[in-house]
């Protein structure tokens, strides 16, 4: 999607909740991730996301470092966490 200036308008990590929840069985939008680039702590919901729906690329809101890639490919979920130092999940 693009904004009024023709630039793509990113979503945020809320939009990845469906595909992640479908495979993991827990909501992870409130998981806390630490960025490998700048050390910033942020919830997954707050990441800058291009894509969503069946997958996307999530960047740090502080330094734009890629922290997470998610793809649903047929019956598989592929999550690439290069760029994330730490992922903290609360017990459901």
């Amino acid at each position: 999607m693009t904004d009024e200036h023709g630039e793509p308008a990113p979503l945020d990590g809320n939009g990845l909740g469906g595909v992640l929840g479908a495979f993991l069985g827990v909501d992870v939008t409130d998981a806390i991730l630490v960025c490998d680039g700048c050390g910033r702590q942020q919830v997954l919901a707050a990441l800058v996301v291009f894509g969503a729906g069946p997958g996307g690329v999530a960047r740090c809101r502080g330094c734009s470092h890629v922290m997470l890639r998610v793809a649903e490919i047929r019956n598989e979920l592929v999550v690439d966490l290069r760029g994330t130092t730490r992922l903290r999940l609360r017990r459901p």
């Binding site: 904004d3 009024e4 979503l11 945020d12 809320n14 939009g15 929840g21 939008t29 919901a45 729906g53």
Partner: protein
């Protein structure tokens, strides 16, 4: 969330026009597990040739069992929203995955003040919070600041007017960016930082804030709130992309 989220078959039960560009879809979803205000669903449409596409839509009403309500605003040339607003017929199937979201959620049992800031169709999940507060008879103060282009674009206009008048502790402020109703003292234009400062509680109070709407709007408002001294950790955001201004 109890276990992996499957795609659930759903059927259109009722369509309620909200504005010229938006409609509320009431969908029957057998086996719907229930949801919280602020959560959304992924909607999947599949054509006869097998092509399928999905979009996210917020749940507009609190949990009422096996029916859910979505309010969709048409995006010109959009792939999915014009179909949902205009063409999906009563009884037609769609698939839903949800409820989705564990961070952008609100509960009527929260003891704190809640500030809601909506841009365009971003009011949809915030309306679920306003309605849930009403149904629970919750007493904690809530304020909704709703930025919209013209009076004709206000979603849930009559209900918001009524709730603002009757629900104790609830304040509704609608601001117009392109055209205001006759007699409105506010000049049309975007919500400014000063205005947010005057409509919000002082940053020294304990306030939980939810901001939702087009990405540019949400980024702007969240930045303004932080500049006004609001704690970043007490601001929850949800971005709809370019749509819904």
């Amino acid at each position: 969330m109890p276990g992996p989220l499957p795609w659930l078959p759903a059927y259109l039960v009722e369509r309620r026009p909200e504005t010229a560009a938006a409609a509320t879809l009431v969908l029957g979803v057998p086996g719907w597990p229930g949801h919280l205000p602020g959560q959304h669903v992924d909607v999947r449409l599949t054509a006869d040739d097998g092509y399928s596409t999905q979009r996210s839509y917020s749940l507009a009403a609190p949990d009422h069992g096996a029916t859910v309500e979505l309010t969709v605003q048409r995006v010109a040339d959009g792939e999915v929203s014009p179909f949902l607003v205009d063409d999906l017929a009563i009884g037609d199937p769609v698939e839903l995955r949800g409820p989705v979201g564990g961070w952008f959620v609100w509960s009527p049992t929260l003891p704190t003040r809640t500030l809601l800031v909506a841009g365009g169709s971003g009011v949809v999940p915030l309306m679920a919070m306003v309605r849930a507060r009403h149904e629970a008879g919750a007493a904690a103060p809530m304020r909704l600041v709703y930025s919209v282009r013209t009076p004709d674009d206000v979603l849930y206009a009559a209900e918001l007017e009524r709730r603002g008048r009757l629900d104790e502790g609830l304040e509704i402020h609608v601001v117009h960016t392109r055209r205001a109703p006759p007699g409105d003292a506010r000049p049309t234009g975007r919500l400014t930082r000063e205005e947010i400062g005057s409509l919000a509680w002082p940053a020294t109070e304990e306030v939980l804030t939810y901001v939702c709407g087009p990405t540019g709007f949400v980024d702007q408002v969240a930045g303004d709130l932080v500049a006004l001294g609001y704690d970043d950790h007490r601001i929850r955001t949800e971005r709809f992309g370019a749509t819904g201004g």
